[in-house]
Amino acid sequence: MFSTRNFNRSKPVLFILILFPSLLWAYQFVTGNLGVNPIEKLMDELGLMALRLIIITLMITTLSNIRPLKSIVVLRRMIGLFAFYYVCLHFSTYIVLDHFLDMQFIIQDIIKRPFITFGFISFLFLIPLASTSTNNMIKRLGFKLWKKIHYLIYPVAILASMHFYVLVRADKTEPVIYMGIIILLLLHRIFKRLTRPQLVQ
């Protein structure tokens, strides 16, 4: 049985581990060690990292159903916020480095290209999640409402994986694996809900 304390203790290490790639890529970008097309590379790495972290937050919820891992849920907020951090970096790379703040072009791009539309909506949905992540906000909103808001993570995950799926030109294996994991996790939640013992009645 892992206690809440065990998981809380692992937080500083996890924090550094998850933060580290962004620092490394920033360093490699600045020193010109990110390959031949560094802006593309940076954007791809940041986006992939964000998607993986989103999937990990979904996994944490599922894992917390297993008795000995019940307390793992204390890690979810940090990882969720890191997902938001990587999405923000991904999006600002697109806006600033890729398109040099050419807002007219960017707006057209978001409207016209389905894969960018998916990614953008996914990003928008993440904003309420990140901004209601504090204990104080949970108290102010009430747990029920807060939980409802946080169901947004499902469209976020689906849209983010579609964003990746449509982007890939030919070999869709990797995005399909991510979509598969997301679908399995969602099915598990639906199954759990349907078989939940009824308390009242």
């Binding site: 390959g35 097309n37 593309e40 791009d109 016209k112 982007l167 030109r169 030919a170």
Partner: protein, 305 residues
């Protein structure tokens, strides 16, 4: 249009230069196996740079050979460079068939001894909205077509890439339908800009760039410039091409570089020149409008993209 200008190198001189470069490259490799080994692959760059347009700069050998779309070696840009080591580009033959006087198989060496190898510095624009400037060595496709003696009924030319899954690990997976196929209309194939390239930066075509012989059609998106060609077929109907078969709503048969016709995935209005920070405007027909626009004067380019 300076970029069209080409330096004619007799095949013998070309071979000698190639030998010299191979020698110096090998010794450099012994010293250190890093990208710097390629830094002095050719002592005299002026052969190429004098053919450049004002706004263009040659991409480095390293850029051209480590960032490739060649799905036969894997779908990632670095895969062709990493996975093409076992590919054997010699000996090589090209089968000529379809609507020709006499179907036959040419030995590559025989073809090369009958053509003039030239330097051609061309812009390459990928459909993914990045571009490079590459100094190719090759000969006009029209020269090979003359050797092939097509019938007057031949209206199209189809090209087929080699299929060797044991040497090309990407072919072990069905990402696209192998072998890769491409095609041109006869007048596009005969255009003096269209070349079969056998080298770049003065040495033999690297495996990851389509050894030993590939097409270069500089006014079309890069995927039209099919690599490692083993068969050329002359047809009276428009041939199927790999990307068009896979996603016809995204890739057309013509695939002319056109900033005004958008692609669902990439805006084609701008591009990132590899090595540059800011995007630049994409030019109509990749800047070769003067040489090729007449080929399409009766064609609705938004329909035939």
């Amino acid at each position: 249009m300076k970029i069209l200008g080409s330096e004619i190198t007799p095949y013998k001189t070309y071979l000698n230069r190639r030998k010299f470069i191979k020698g110096s490259l090998a010794s450099a490799m012994l010293a250190t196996v890093t990208s710097s080994a390629f830094a002095n692959h050719d002592s005299d760059l002026s052969i190429y740079t004098k053919n450049l347009n004002e706004n263009d700069k040659l991409n480095s050998y390293e850029e051209i050979t480590t960032y490739n779309n060649f799905y036969e070696f894997g779908t990632h840009k670095k895969h062709p460079h990493l996975n093409s080591g076992n590919f054997k580009p010699r000996p090589w033959t090209i089968k000529i068939d379809g609507l020709v006087k006499k179907p036959q198989t040419f030995d590559l060496e025989k073809i090369l001894s009958n053509v003039t190898i030239e330097d051609r510095v061309y812009r390459l624009r990928c459909v993914e909205a990045w571009s490079m400037v590459i100094p190719w060595q090759g000969f006009q496709l029209s020269e090979l077509i003359k050797m092939a003696e097509p019938l007057s009924s031949a209206k199209y030319v189809q090209f087929v890439t080699v299929f060797r899954p044991e040497e090309m690990p990407g072919q072990q997976k069905r990402t696209i339908i192998w072998p890769y196929r491409e095609g041109l209309r006869m007048d596009e194939a005969m255009n003096p800009l269209t070349i079969l390239a056998t080298g770049l930066y003065g040495h033999e075509m690297p495996n990851q760039n389509g050894a030993p012989i590939r097409l270069v059609v500089p006014w079309k998106y890069g995927f039209k410039s099919i690599k490692s060609i083993v068969e050329i077929r002359f047809l009276d109907t428009q041939p199927e091409t790999s990307w068009e078969t896979l996603a016809p709503w995204e890739y057309g048969f013509y695939a002319n570089v056109n900033p005004n016709v958008n692609h669902p995935r990439w805006s084609q209005g701008t591009e990132r020149r590899i090595g540059e920070f800011k995007r630049r405007e994409t030019l109509m027909f990749n800047g070769y409008e003067e040489q090729v626009a007449h080929l399409y004067k009766d064609l609705d380019l938004t329909k035939f993209y």
